[in-house]
């Protein structure tokens, strides 16, 4: 009967996820026997580069073959968790900060510190601090593979048409009270239907043709694509210690001030209000000429400067806030499954992934910035050779005190939802920023009790 089957189906989902049907056929093998390692990643842009690494690796280790599987972001984590639950996880997989702590707490990731010590892996070759993101106490759960920073991206033709000198974007300032020269820039870049910009007294904020700034409000608990960077430059820190902090500080007034400033942009008509915002991605809106400026991560370089872009874009450094210029920096790592039958082989592969040999290949393709500093320079050179000016990302990463790591803690996904909802409710005016953030912060910290 339809009714019964539907009720059953509701429960079936859960049971299937619990791993009713999954089987493993790995068996112990003699040392030196042919081994196939499963390696997972989610970015289809990077698959080709890592396939090149795998080929090189197999050349050097003929008995080890690497089988790379790629799945889209959402499915990636669901599949991974299901496979782990079923006892048949990939030997090595790519990790990210919000998801990996739960695998550490449940003992699914191999502590590679003994290998790192034995093989004397040089941890100082990596971009500062990246290697530490994947440690807990004296245990280590991965070697860094790449990093990303944030910058402003802008429509060059539009800014020129508005009489804005591109050179002026190099030294923008920002503060939560009047928005500094950053707000001036946004105002000048905003144009209403009659062609008046945001500074014109006759500017009609109800009929905006091009918004000066496009905000991202589905930005989780980190605000990497907007508020996080400005809040940090205003002196806000997410939590007591990172990684593995247990006390978040979303009730910091410095964050509420930042959110209020973003809200004021919408009120002035310089940015779309959340309830009138598009559900499409900011890069499609920029490409459609609906916006002039927004934040962009270095992972977006190929979208904005590649062949797919319909308009001309360029990158500029983030504005400097009261505490200077601060960009979120985030990194990925490769981890070994604690349950793998081929620990030594998996370590060889992870070591290779974390080595200059592999990262130079990846860097040379100009897709991401590898964690090893010299390989990053290769990536920069590859971009420059293609005529893409992306130096700003590298400069920001290298600036002393100019970066902050996005939080790595337990309960990452729940924190993300709670904080995002709080910020959205503040932006929608359901509650004022300070109250909404205080409430969310209490809920967030309750998760750690």
């Amino acid at each position: 009967m339809i009714r019964t089957s539907r009720v059953g189906a509701a429960l079936l989902t859960l049971a299937v996820a619990a791993g009713v049907a999954a089987c493993s056929s790995t068996t112990e093998e003699e040392p030196g026997a042919a081994v196939t390692l499963d390696y997972w990643l989610w970015d289809d842009n990077q698959k080709a580069s890592y396939q090149q690494c795998a080929d090189e690796f197999t050349k050097a280790n003929p008995n080890i073959t690497i089988k790379i599987s790629q799945a889209a972001w959402n499915e990636y984590w669901q599949n991974l968790t299901t496979q782990i639950a079923a006892g048949d996880a990939p030997d090595v997989w790519t990790n990210q900060g919000s998801y990996y702590p739960q695998f550490v707490s449940s003992g699914q990731i191999l502590d590679i510190q003994p290998y790192v010590t034995a093989d004397k892996v040089d941890l100082s070759q990596y971009q500062g601090g990246l290697a530490d993101l994947f440690t807990k106490g004296d245990q280590r759960f991965g070697l860094p593979k790449d990093w990303d920073t944030m910058a402003l991206v802008y429509n060059t033709e539009h800014l020129k048409a508005q009489g804005i000198d591109a050179a002026s974007l190099a030294n923008l300032t920002w503060n939560p009270t009047d928005g500094g020269t950053f707000e001036q820039l946004i105002a000048k870049a905003t144009v209403d239907e009659k062609g008046r910009n945001g500074l014109d007294p006759a500017f009609d904020k109800t009929k905006v043709k091009v918004f000066g700034y496009l905000p991202e409000w589905a930005d989780g608990s980190q605000g990497q694509n907007g508020w996080g960077n400005l809040a940090a430059s205003n002196g806000f820190t997410y939590l007591d210690k990172n990684p593995w902090g247990t006390q978040y500080k979303y009730d910091d007034p410095k964050l509420a001030q930042t959110i209020d400033w973003f809200k004021s942009l919408s009120a002035k008509g310089y940015a779309p209000a959340l309830d009138k915002a598009s559900t499409l991605s900011r890069d499609s809106l920029l490409n459609a000429g609906k916006g002039a400026i927004t934040f962009a991560g270095s992972w977006m370089i190929n979208s904005y400067l590649g062949e797919g872009a319909k308009l001309k874009f360029a990158f500029a450094p983030l504005p400097a806030g009261p505490q200077g210029r601060k960009t979120a920096i985030n990194g990925l790592s490769d981890a070994i499954w604690a349950g793998t039958k081929h620990k030594d082989e998996a370590w060889k592969w992870v070591k290779f992934l974390g080595s200059a040999d592999c990262q130079n290949i990846v860097g040379g393709n100009g897709v991401v910035f590898p964690a090893i500093k010299t390989a990053s320079e290769k990536a920069l050179a590859a971009h420059t050779a293609k005529g893409r000016d992306v130096k700003v990302f590298v400069d920001e990463a290298a600036a002393p005190g100019g970066t902050f790591f996005v939080p790595i803690t337990e309960h990452g996904n729940e924190v993300s939802q709670l904080v995002q909802d709080a910020i959205q409710s503040a932006i929608l005016g359901q509650s004022d920023s300070a109250t909404a953030l205080k409430k969310a912060n209490d809920q967030v910290n309750a998760l750690f009790k």
């Binding site: 509701a10 049971a15 782990i84 809106l285 609906k290 359901q430």
Partner: protein, 293 residues
């Protein structure tokens, strides 16, 4: 006098039922039982499930997000079923009384044949605030842009509207099939007696359609409770939690936060509610013996 006992077919009947029963036990019974078991455990897929008694349920009853999800779902069901049934009834009547074109009937079914995810993406583009066609139209007639998916008051009516668009044709077809069972002579008699279309609809079509209408209503009501894909594609439960329906809540708990036990408890709770609705459906069907005699 030969006293042949009627042959006992029960043994054979069970034999024939066996394949279905095995399928049912493996694919519904066992997972359902496991689901119920998980609902009383603390389980995140990576640990061993430990029994925690009614803890998940007591937590669920105190969870504002859960009750919000129930409320939001109820609001969706009212919007969706209301508009869908009224529209479908109108279309079915038009088909029944005006035209019986097969092409038209097939066209009506088209939206229903399109996968839900495609429908979600299609409408997401059409209704987008900045780039969408609908907002361009609104703009040309001088109306301001409407954030169909991002405005908290509009988001749910928009989702309900999309699904109404997708399912009205199908519902209309079911109702139309029910109308075909109403004898033509009733209409002929009524029109000879001078009854207009509206009167015939109220006095003949509606009363005689009642059993079919009841079935269609309750089946689509239960289907409506299970709204998920359109929301997962378009609003993702937002803005804030204005469209966080119960299925999306369960999905978040299970596959985003990996609270399997908690999600299972919510699923069992939903199953109970659907069970109550099923009971109502059974009763309605029994109560509505056809008036065609």
């Amino acid at each position: 006098m030969s006293s042949t006992k009627p042959r006992d077919d029960r043994r054979a009947a069970w034999l024939f039922l066996l394949p279905v029963l095995v399928g049912f036990a493996v694919f519904y019974g066992y997972p359902a039982a496991r689901g119920v078991w998980y609902s009383v455990t603390d389980y995140n897929m990576l640990n061993t499930a430990t029994y925690v008694g009614a803890e998940n349920y007591t937590k669920l009853l105190q969870d504002d997000q859960f009750w919000n999800a129930m409320l939001v779902t109820a609001w969706y069901v009212v919007l969706n079923i209301g508009s869908q049934t009224l529209l479908a009834l109108g279309i079915a009547t038009l088909m029944h009384r005006l035209t019986r074109s097969v092409v038209l009937r097939a066209t009506l079914l088209l939206p229903w044949l399109v996968p839900n995810v495609t429908i979600g993406l299609l409408w997401m583009w059409l209704l987008d605030t900045n780039l969408g066609f609908v907002n361009q139209l609104l703009h040309t007639v001088g109306l301001g842009p409407v954030g169909f998916f991002t405005d908290e008051t509009w988001a749910m009516p928009t989702v309900a509207g999309i699904n109404t668009w997708a399912y009205t044709g199908y519902t209309a077809l079911l109702l139309y099939a029910g109308m075909l069972q109403i004898p033509q002579y009733l209409y002929e008699g009524a029109s000879i007696d001078g009854a207009g279309e509206w009167r015939m609809f109220r006095r003949i079509t509606l009363p005689l359609l009642r059993p079919v209408l009841a079935l269609v209503l309750v089946v689509s009501l239960i289907g409506s409770f299970q709204i998920f894909d359109t929301i997962a594609v378009t609003t993702k439960g937002g803005p804030v939690s204005a469209t966080q329906v119960i299925y999306y809540f369960i999905y978040l708990q299970a596959f985003k936060y990996f609270h399997m036990g908690y999600a299972a408890a919510a699923a069992v709770f939903l199953a109970l509610i659907l069970g109550v609705l099923t009971a109502i459906q059974m009763r309605l069907l029994r109560a509505s013996r056809s008036d065609l005699a």
